[in-house]
């Protein structure tokens, strides 16, 4: 694995409160993600995972500020670019996001297919506009490809779907434009084990079909990361304390915090 897709270089982020107090949420984080690689990030709630995501997406909107460091996608820096530039050229095309499978990720008054079509409309370049019919075709094809009940799901409102269907639709929408890298922020934490497996299977389906090539997967479930990620980074109080292959982290943790996490993992002896 050689081609680096995402490069994070000594990134530090802080929040600036109304009264001028700084809170450093991410401190000096550096890592790279190569083509075809899945990097897992594990850590407890409040460790700075979600803030890091905002930084990676180039969406540092006050009160969040960049202290120092750089984020590069395919060698292009995201820092010091206008919001419009990042929106038009990076989001959903180069880097995309799968948010937590909470109830409210999709606009409740729009059908799934309309929410999906918005992604195309938002990133059309002058001279190569698609008609609504073409866009619909693409959406239907993609959902078909992913083995979903395309017709019913696309013509539904979010509340008409089960939690699993909703989250799978979100994944479908997030990857419509074949981004280079996808950030999945606890995409299954609100789901039960069976639905979780369906969703993860779908994500890997997308990976294997080459719809996107790299992924950052964030969760606090280490067993899940073990199966999903090639490499695991452990985040603690805004810093990366350890990074290694999933085998290394799970079987031979080095840092005390990682050891604690591993000790607290519940295993089941009956599985084969």
């Amino acid at each position: 694995m050689s081609d680096v897709v995402l490069e994070v270089d000594h990134l530090s982020l802080h929040y600036l409160s109304r009264f001028g107090e700084k809170f450093h949420a991410v401190r000096d984080v550096s890592f790279t993600v190569s083509k075809g690689e899945v990097l897992g990030i594990a850590g407890e709630s409040g460790c700075g995972k979600s803030t890091l995501v905002s930084g990676l997406m180039g969406m540092c909107i006050p009160p969040l500020h960049v202290t120092s460091g750089d984020v590069r996608i395919n060698g292009e820096s995201l820092m010091n670019r206008s919001v419009e530039d990042v929106r038009a050229n990076v989001l959903a095309q180069k880097i995309s996001m799968i948010p937590q499978g909470a109830f409210n990720t999709l606009n409740p008054v729009r059908k799934i297919k309309d929410s999906a079509a918005d992604v195309f409309y938002a990133h059309q370049k002058a001279g190569q506009r698609l008609s609504r019919a073409e866009i619909n075709d693409r959406i239907f094809d993609r959902f078909d490809e992913l083995g979903m009940e395309t017709k019913r799901i696309l013509n539904s409102y979010p509340i008409q779907l089960t939690a699993g269907e909703r989250q799978r639709s979100v994944i479908g929408i997030s990857t419509l434009l074949n981004p280079e890298i996808v950030i999945a922020d606890e995409p299954t934490s609100a789901l039960d084990v069976s639905t979780q497996k369906e969703v993860i299977t779908m994500i890997f389906d997308l990976l294997n079909k080459g719809i996107f090539s790299s992924m950052i997967f964030i969760t606090h479930e280490l067993p899940l990361l073990y199966h999903v990620a090639d490499d695991i980074a452990i985040m603690y109080k805004g810093q990366f304390v350890e990074r290694g292959t999933s085998e290394q982290i799970v079987k031979n943790p080095q840092h005390d915090y990682t050891k604690m996490l591993m000790k607290a993992m519940v295993r089941c002896d009956y599985v084969k």
């Binding site: 890997f204 067993p223 073990y226 993992m265």
Partner: protein
Amino acid sequence: MSNENKPVVFHADNISKSFNAGKHLKVAVKNASFDIYDGDFVSIVGSSGCGKSVLAKMMLGLYPPTSGDFTYYGKPIANTKKHWNEVQSIFQDPFSCFNQFFSIRTQLEDARFILNPRPSRAEFAERVDAGLRAVNMEPNEIREKYPFELSGGQMQRMLIARAFALRPKVLIADEPTSMVDAHVRAGILDYLMKIKKELNMTVVFITHDISLANYVSNRIFIMHDGQIVNQGTPDEVLGTTTEPTTLKLLDDIPDVNKQEWIPNSHLARKAKIAENA
């Protein structure tokens, strides 16, 4: 493990529960029959919507069964203080379990009003202290704490401390670890097992994660679509079973002991490469 000579705590004979969901009837629990014996640590496992939480609420007397006999020590279950004197609960969401306007301490001590005979304030305060120590919290540290000053894991432990202080005969724990970080989970379950042992309680544990059920309990019920499809000791239920729901639940957990959890995942690919080599 033989249960035959232990007294039966809960006895369910063909119980069902249905709700009016709009215009049609939604059957949450279908013809369930089981016995829970004194001193059991029973887990009820199933995916969301299988009816396990409804069953828990029925044990607490919050929902009466639509049909069938459901008894507690031979008597029909009712939502009376007398029932809650002996059967208590730990709820899913620790963040919504406490009233943010009172200190945690006050709320823990308020639980003494359900007890009969009612312990004196001082006596119950000591029991709360003991409960807090049992879950590794220093009583003096949380004396003046309010719910919003604690983390989810800490609040979850508070709920266990409350159960410890109440010393109920039966404790119903409905997904008590679903809202906390993974690494806190085992700790909370350990505390649960510890107080179960110390107080010799009967515990009913509701979860969707079969590995947690295996970790804590001596008997496991598997629920699917409102029905109990498999029940027995972990060995019976998990070891040699051919029952499809159980197999699927086992198959779905991403345990680190597994070689391949999802086809095409990187571990699976690596395994294949190793095979070919």
